[in-house]
Subunit: 341 residues, 2 copies
DNA sequence: GTGAATTGTCAAAGCGCTTTGGAAACACGT
DNA sequence: ACGTGTTTCCAAAGCGCTTTGACAATTCAC
């Protein structure tokens, strides 16, 4: 069933039917009713490709799905996507996901933009001096960045959380508890959030004249195994750290395993603060020692990003071009006073 | 830059350029070279919407993304998607993801099929007597089901793992170890895999004249919290089970917490076998007591499903319409002889 | 009852591509 | 010179929709 057939069936022109469907005012209410009823009966659906060709609007948001296994954890990706989807479904938008391995992100992005398949692009997992920013700017497709790109002029639309502030505050808390030997379990080094979190820690330490030694920093994928390995390494250091900051609750999972296996007590021998993206299957309050966290729900970020993106496409703006969300510091049992050794 | 402009630039007709690009034989190699070079220089990309309208082929696979939070764990969804993507990228396919909440899956599926946006559909999280199967059959779009629908004639294309066999074997193992009191931590009751896994357990028990009491079965979302709650409930039963089967390593995570908190020893007081979808961040061999599992990589299933779907679209078949993958039973430390009480 | 303003409808052009059905252009043997 | 094949290219017709510009039909003011 297509427009032509439907219009013939109704004895109307395609124009009228099309207008009736798209809510144009210049069509009689009675006629519109009639059309709508016929649509229901016949199950007619406009062909999206044709619609797209005619309007230039696709009703979809493009994103490049990283396929490199283990490059970053897909737990976070899935959770974020759920947020995006939650909002998209309200506007009858969908996503065109183009999978691409890490070394062809740029190409995939470009193809997606030029294909006419999407009205807007979304990118995440930003790195420092990320080459995708200039690419996107040159692409004449609206876009929105999740995160930022350290070192680039922040003149593009983004939504980010205050990574530096979060880890600054967390470090401050640990300092107040008397800790002096710190370690940081971070995500992959090039990633923007990793850069900023490290800066936050270093800044807070610097205020007390402390430093973060290189061997007290780990950069690993955000899964539990590397977390365990990293913590094991820290625990073997001659100057064992007593305060550990951790970029993800997933990493913390492994870290805690290492602490337990070493016969140490979390919140006593070792204090730990992790960043919590609020993954539904991993609640820091349920850890055997509930975890102190810097919290910022990933899913909510997804919802907001979809909102802004769809709003931009529908020209419903104006939205703020740059948003920086504060995180919450939630104190639980994994942080305690520094052991008096 | 569009075809017309490009052809004018080259002094050729649109036909010839189009043919050159799509590898038709009736065009001079020299001409083709010339065209290809021009494409590189101008960065021309065919408009997908137009291509789609003309050919009826979309180069994409549609799937409905469940947005209902907690309905089933998105961890599994993300991992599976990665597998799909891994294969899709090799064929320059992409996915159109239509988010939909649980009560509009059918509508979303239908819309996707009729929209002309996709050349094939994929569905998962099958339930018993799933109404989506008849819908898909009526839709005249090729489709592939991940899992099966218990109670429906298995005459549709699917890829499933042998859930019944897996849990039958696992139960057998525990029986051999002398266990007689069993419990099953399952996924949501309507889901096909839950139905079959339960059957597997019951079948194995029946061979020894044993039964699985109703209060030794839990049906919960596949996340750790409900897993913990379920196990806590089991442990308070007058006839405490000693052997527990678990539908996911994520559930097991919670279950083990409950066991530990009750002061019991995994692999001694309680034997546990979980199904392992091989989630990259949750390795059963790294659990503090390594977990005995029935293994079947979800990602590999994703790859295979993409292969079949794309092959079908490109008419490269024939593929087997039905595939049933065996699982591996991997014995680790979480299973031991029944305690002699 | 007239002309102007408003309303409801339509025919046709176009969006950018593929594909059908020819038609030039060239080669070849006779 | 002619017919016969091949090769290489093209004009034009869709694909299913939206949208422009125009035209009947209706309403209104006076």
């Amino acid at each position: 069933m297509n427009l032509k057939q439907l219009s013939e069936l109704l004895g109307l022109s395609q124009t009228t039917v099309s207008r009736a469907l798209n809510g144009y005012p210049e069509v009689n209410e009675a006629t519109r009713e009639r059309v709508l009823r016929a649509v229901k009966e016949t199950g007619y659906r406009p062909n999206k490709a044709a619609q797209r060709l005619a309007t230039g609007k696709a009703g979809s948001i493009g994103l490049v799905m990283p396929t490199a296994p283990g490059d970053y954890s897909d737990v976070h990706f899935g959770e974020f996507l759920t947020g995006l989807g939650e909002e998209a479904v309200r506007h009858d938008f969908h996503f065109v996901i183009m999978p691409a391995d890490a070394n062809d992100e740029m190409g995939a992005l470009r193809r997606l933009a030029i294909s006419g398949d999407v009205d807007a692009l979304f990118v995440a997992y930003m790195r420092g001096h990320d080459p995708r920013v200039p690419l996107l700017k040159s692409l004449s497709v609206p876009f929105l960045v999740h995160g930022r790109s350290f070192g680039s002029e922040p003149d593009y639309p983004y939504l980010d959380i205050d990574n530096e502030g979060a880890f600054y505050d967390a470090t401050k808390l640990l300092l107040q508890l008397g800790h002096t030997r710190f370690a940081l379990m971070n995500g992959p080094e090039p990633l923007d959030f990793a850069i900023r979190r490290k800066r936050g820690v270093i800044a807070a330490l610097a205020e007390r004249g402390l430093e973060l030694p290189e061997d007290c920093i780990s950069h690993t994928p955000m899964t539990d195994e590397p977390g365990q390995a990293a913590m094991e390494r820290f625990l073997q250091l001659p100057e064992q750290p007593t305060a550990v900051l951790c970029s993800s609750t997933v990493l913390a999972l492994g870290a805690i395993r290492a602490v337990t296996q070493a016969g140490l007590k979390l919140g006593e021998d070792i204090s730990l603060i992790a960043h919590d993206d609020v993954l539904p299957h991993l609640k820091p309050e349920n850890f055997s020692v509930p975890l102190t966290t810097t919290r910022s729900p990933l899913r909510a970020a997804g919802v907001r990003i979809a909102q802004r993106l769809i709003g931009t496409i529908k020209q419903e703006g104006p939205f703020p071009e740059q948003e920086l969300w504060k995180t919450e510091l939630i104190v639980r049992a994994s942080t305690g006073a520094a052991p008096s050794r």
